[in-house]
Symmetry: D2
Subunit: 237 residues, 4 copies
């Protein structure tokens, strides 16, 4: 923090340390890239943001999916009116396997730890705020997650400020890999983003037609997005 | 009804006549195929069913989608455990254009007229009852539908007796055609059914890759299902 | 043939009887639909056509694939210039299993029995004559086919009158079903037709992504085409 | 070449310089990675290889496509018998636009400059030598290419040592991007590799269904392959 040659810091430590490091870095005059979320407690988030504003430094929170070429293109198509006025948004987001129970316990729960990305995506895609939401869910994947006080399967229905509706579904375990799909339906059409696969190989066998399952997890799926995200941060500072 | 050579009747008249004709046909000893719904009023449905039971005739209600080869195969895969224990069901059902306002007024509303098929599909796919549901919706397609006392866009979240969750989304107007997709996600995988297209033509142009939009509406999409449905009725009687 | 109430005949008997029946039907003043080929011997074909012309009746040869909605649309797109000037045509045509050896012996060989459809398709797609061709092939599927004097795997390269090139590949045995694909590549793009499948079901499993194999054989694949073909015949007479 | 700290050289200069630099580098004891082709003249290739052998250094020629994850997986599936005994190989390879005429003049022609990759792929996929081939082609894209003594559209039919057949088609101009597809058909099935697209976005419009065209050219399409190729070279030395 005291090194004058360093202009910026990238915070990838555990969530409970984020707010404190942000404040320290801001005071030291460093620009900050911080992995989501800033904190699990809104007052800590406010403190961190106040420190950032006071110091006049830049803070970027790591919502990597905004930098994915497919999601970005979908958003741009919506913004330029390709599908008319949005009526429905659908976000599917399923992990290939649950995190360790030790992580679940400090994660803040499925909504703050996992669906946070989808809430961000929901706002990003329409460039609108969500004004209302209903959440349901339960523990269907692993009872140990329930014992840790969390759920592993959840559906949220949300309403946008301009009247559109959205649904998000999350599961902590999709055996076929990282399932990351979106769909925006409007008065003039529908934009969809499907999953990415490691190869374009298709096998026609005597039994069926076989292709790859989706990329395994976020490292594989959002490789391009992570690079673009960091480039954007560097361009901003 | 008095013609002894006739074993069965097929009722395709308007909804408000169904219950009465069912009772008459049952009394005349005819087997009955009746388009959905039997009535908009549960007491009328009960009367009709009582008449059918008393007469010992067979009654089949026209849930054509159960006879669609794709949905049928999806259900069979779920039944034989291909995707393990079901956790999430997702049904998308969007019409290419709204019916005339005169029809909207007597239709019973989007849930009884349109989503009724999806409620049936939801039960059919898992062979389970739904124990709880939350419905939201509004009028986004055409204000005249709102003036007629109905909505044109709706999302229902539902809970199955065994703990799985489901969502259904409906729109009265998908400019790209009849959008009929389902997805059942479980502990061991996911089964999806996509839309059908009139041809398998793909055009690679200097601008993009173009393929057909989905089949226009139920007549085109469920042609095979209607035939199979009627065959099933004939086989049953 | 003597029945005055009959306007037309449909000939589906074995190839060696076609030419004779055509002549008889023509003399009797009947319009004629005849399954391909008219004969294996060009002089017999000429005799049959002469009889038809003399009688002033109509003769349609059963090239069912011209009535397939996908191939028809591909041809129409080419005709209206969507892909510019055609440069390359590619036809894949593979049967799910070889016919009985007894049939192979009288079939006229793979080119007259099987690739005849693809030669017709090649001419149909560009509305141009083929001026030159090179054929290679061998017996890779079943030695018994070779012993019967035929081959079971063949590739033909052909040149169109306007300079475009084409390739056709045939196999008597594709274990995954009837493989019927075409592709026309031109100065402004490319039109492709893929295979049709019985359902639109996709399964995401822990191992891979699975969908249906193509429809089994011509009865399934060209059902719509056979109906349209017969309708066209009836409309013509 | 005299710098002792340098273990290896990478040759990306124009084709006419390759053989000479290879010999010099070999004499200097450097391992060599050289872009294809070594030379247009077989005696020069032999001289270069002799120099390499004499020096005991390693030489890798830049056939980048062998390192593409999709083609590699296809080859591995063939090698482990997934499709049984190969009967047919089909390689489609079309550039998005022709090189400058100045390049065409010194390129060695479409077969040595462009189809060379496909000849390599043909051998790579089956791990078999080609024993016979027939080539046809003409100038359909741009007459200037013809005036430069080359052709821009070509089809090659080839026969493998074990009896399988193959076809390769090349065009110097596919307006929709870099078209790089392969297909290996055998006694037990078929493996295909399709094109890669920049995003997984699909738009359903009132007119049709639209997705991305393929990646533009080799830099985009084979990015992963180039990295893997260079890694392999480094691992080898």
């Amino acid at each position: 923090m005291e090194n004058k040659d360093i202009d910026a810091v990238v915070i990838c430590s555990s969530t409970d340390t984020h707010a404190q490091i942000i404040s320290e870095a801001a005071e030291a005059g460093k620009h900050i890239f911080c992995e989501k979320p800033i904190a699990l407690d809104i007052s800590k988030i406010d403190q961190a943001i106040t420190a950032v504003k006071k110091a006049g430094v830049k803070l970027q929170v790591g919502f990597n999916r905004r930098f994915d070429p497919s999601f970005k293109k979908a958003k741009e198509l919506v913004a330029k009116g390709t599908i008319g006025i949005p009526h429905l948004v659908r976000i599917t987001s399923r992990d290939p396997e649950p995190p360790p129970i030790s992580y679940v316990k400090v994660s803040g729960g499925i909504f703050l730890d996992m669906m946070i990305h989808d809430f961000d995506m929901a706002r990003y895609l329409l460039d609108q705020e969500v004004v209302e939401l209903m959440a349901v869910g339960s523990c269907l994947v692993d009872p140990a997650i329930g014992e840790a006080g969390d759920i592993d399967t959840a559906i949220v229905t949300l309403k946008y400020e301009n009247g559109a509706w959205g649904t998000i579904d999350n599961s902590r375990k999709a055996v076929y890999g990282y399932d990351q799909r979106i769909e925006i339906f409007g008065s003039e059409g529908c934009v969809m983003v499907g999953n990415l696969k490691p190869t374009e190989v298709i096998v026609n066998s005597a039994k069926d037609t076989i292709s790859d399952k989706p990329l395994y997890f976020f490292i594989e799926r959002y490789q391009e997005a992570y690079l673009a995200e960091m480039e954007e941060f560097i361009n901003c500072i």
